[in-house]
């Protein structure tokens, strides 16, 4: 992409000198039309968010009117959300779950992906097929017995059902990491083996440092998945409001304050904000990760 950008940039001045005025004017008009369309497309995607943001700053009476612009900017709505809803507790709960599950996925999936890509052993191919099949298995198939099992252990309501299984590997993350590990030249491992390094050392000292972008992407996806997840927290935490995550709390808040759109939308903004901030900080990891998942999958 960057190569394409530089070639057009380099070509442009030469074209400008040689083109007659009418062609130049036509090009300019086309460019204006092009950007007008692009701005229109951009607006379609962003205007809903603008409405959400504007209404979250209205008074609750104005939020029920047909007004589009806040008469006065009620920043206090956000403070009111914090007063009505234990946002910090929900955020802490969500953070604990998301952080620990991400840690679990990374720690457990790397060795499996390593064994499936860089070690030769009997049954490797069959194991890989099983991992792929697990990705296709709907979680509904396993959720009922798991619910029964976790209930028997006394883990419900609690964080454990949402965290512990992820310390035993996640099929999708294993798959992604394996695909990336396969692209690392075998010579690097061979060189390390010649130096007398164990497989564990090769994995931690050679492969993991080289696979940082893929690992970062897998971590980011798992973190966001846990942050946004609704179904599993609904099942496993639903019974104890002290354990709720932001997703569950937000949905219940809607139930309680059905008509106070301004507060509901302020809560929506508060829930979205960390994700958007995270996106802007980790934009490169995001884009690379999505590209790797999409194209190589």
């Amino acid at each position: 992409m960057s190569a394409a950008v530089t070639t057009t940039a380099r070509r442009r001045p030469i074209l400008r000198r040689t083109l007659p005025a009418n062609v130049r004017r036509k090009r300019l008009l086309l460019a204006v039309a092009d950007h007008a369309l692009l701005i229109a497309v951009m607006a379609i995607f962003l205007i809903p968010l603008a409405f959400v943001l504007l209404t979250s700053l209205m008074t609750s009476e104005q939020a029920l009117t047909t007004d589009m612009w806040p008469r006065s900017f009620e920043w206090d709505n956000y403070a009111e959300v914090f007063r009505r809803l234990p946002v910090l507790r929900y955020a802490t709960n969500t953070m604990i779950i998301a952080t620990l599950s991400t840690l679990g996925v990374i720690l457990s999936s790397i060795p499996v992906a390593y064994a499936l890509s860089r070690l030769r052993w009997r049954g490797r191919q069959a194991t890989f097929v099983i991992v792929l099949a697990t990705i296709m298995l709907p979680y509904q198939v396993t959720i009922v017995p798991l619910y029964v099992l976790f209930a028997r252990y006394g883990w419900i309501p609690g964080f454990k059902p949402l965290i512990v299984p992820l310390f035993f590997g996640d099929a999708f993350s294993i798959f992604l990491l394996r695909q990336f590990f396969l692209t690392i030249p075998e010579e690097l491992s061979d060189a390390a083996r010649m130096e007398g390094a164990s497989e564990w050392q090769i994995m931690t000292r050679v492969i993991v440092p080289l696979a940082k972008p893929a690992i970062a992407a897998v971590a980011l996806f798992q973190f966001l998945y846990s942050w946004n997840d609704f179904f599993a927290p609904l099942l496993f935490l639903g019974g104890d409001s002290n354990l709720w995550t932001l997703a569950i709390g937000l949905n219940e808040f809607r139930g309680l304050h059905q008509v106070e759109y301004n507060l509901m939308l302020a809560a929506v903004v508060l829930f979205m904000l960390p994700v958007i901030v995270l996106f802007f900080f980790a934009q490169r990891v995001f884009m690379e990760g999505i590209t790797v998942t999409g194209v190589k999958g």
Binding site: L46, Y261, G294
Partner: protein, 291 residues
């Protein structure tokens, strides 16, 4: 390797085997499961009208929503592929809505499409529409509104198509230009075949995810009557397969029935996916043949 095997046995194999067993029992979590043979399956197919409603709604959202979403993703990606001024800003703006957590997006749409006070109907009546749809409050319009929600969050698919398009070797476009191909022909004969593996991937993922569609539907169709939370409102038009499974398993504690539903879900997903894979040989371009 071994922790994964333990995990695989404990969190995949064991639950699969026991959910298969549960599907032939009546089980309410409190008493021990007792064998009922194929009664759950027979009830599902012959006596539970809501099973069929839920299955039809789910099929609808996949058959209508998935092609639309992929078409919009390809269209926006095509639009955003050529590098020009501020292109990154445009790409980012299309991508941002996809970052909205499912619950947040659904609640935002509940407000945006509110028939009385939401901005969508204000705009519609502003441009002279006499009685705009009731959207999520109308059984006819509820599912289309959820499709719009899915299209609003098209950014993740768009980025994948964009990456696929940026990977198309520019020689191919140059060759097409020399042959005198127009814009449409270039798209049809060069871009589309080369991104067909991405289309295939999106369809498979879309089908698997579509049969598990739950959160957005739960949030917008959640209706509290007294102590009992109902989902599927209005008139069960938003009751999806997983919503029904959730109702039966985790609201009514009919674990045997929920397990039977889960296995039928697995079967349907498998069959649909296999059909797409078989059919794909005819239209998915094999990259290997090219390189």
């Amino acid at each position: 390797m071994s922790p994964w095997i333990i995990g695989f046995l404990a969190f995949t194999v064991y639950p699969m085997v026991s959910s298969f067993y549960f599907s032939f029992t009546s089980y309410d979590l409190l008493s021990t499961p007792h064998w009922v043979g194929t009664a759950n399956y027979r009830f599902m197919f012959t006596k539970d009208p809501l099973f069929w409603t839920a299955l039809k709604n789910t099929m609808w959202i996949i058959v209508v929503g998935l092609p639309l979403r992929i078409a919009v993703a390809i269209a926006t990606a095509t639009w955003l592929v050529r590098p020009r001024r501020a292109i990154k800003t445009y790409r980012t703006s299309v991508f941002i809505p996809t970052l909205a957590p499912a619950v947040a997006g659904a609640l935002a749409f509940l407000y945006l499409f509110n028939p009385a006070t939401g901005p969508v109907n204000q705009v519609l009546s502003g441009i002279g529409m006499s009685d705009p749809p009731l959207w999520l409050y109308d059984a006819q319009w509820a599912k289309p509104t959820l499709v719009l929600l899915a299209i609003w969050g098209v950014g993740d698919a768009m980025i994948i198509f964009l990456a696929g398009m940026l990977n198309v070797p520019s020689e191919l476009y140059e060759a097409a230009d020399i042959e005198g191909a127009g814009r449409l022909q270039r798209f049809w004969h060069v871009t589309l075949p080369l991104i067909s593996p991405v289309i295939f991937f999106s369809i498979v993922i879309g089908i698997i995810a579509g049969f598990q569609y739950f959160t957005q539907a739960y949030v917008v169709s959640f209706w509290q009557t007294g102590d009992h939370a109902q989902i599927g409102h209005p008139q069960n038009s938003l009751l999806f397969y997983t919503s029904r499974l959730y109702q039966m398993g985790f609201q009514n504690f009919k674990m045997g029935y929920a397990s039977a539903m889960a296995w039928i879900l697995f079967l349907i997903t498998m069959i649909c996916t296999l059909l797409v894979i078989r059919n794909s040989r005819r239209w998915v371009f094999q990259q290997g043949a090219f390189r």
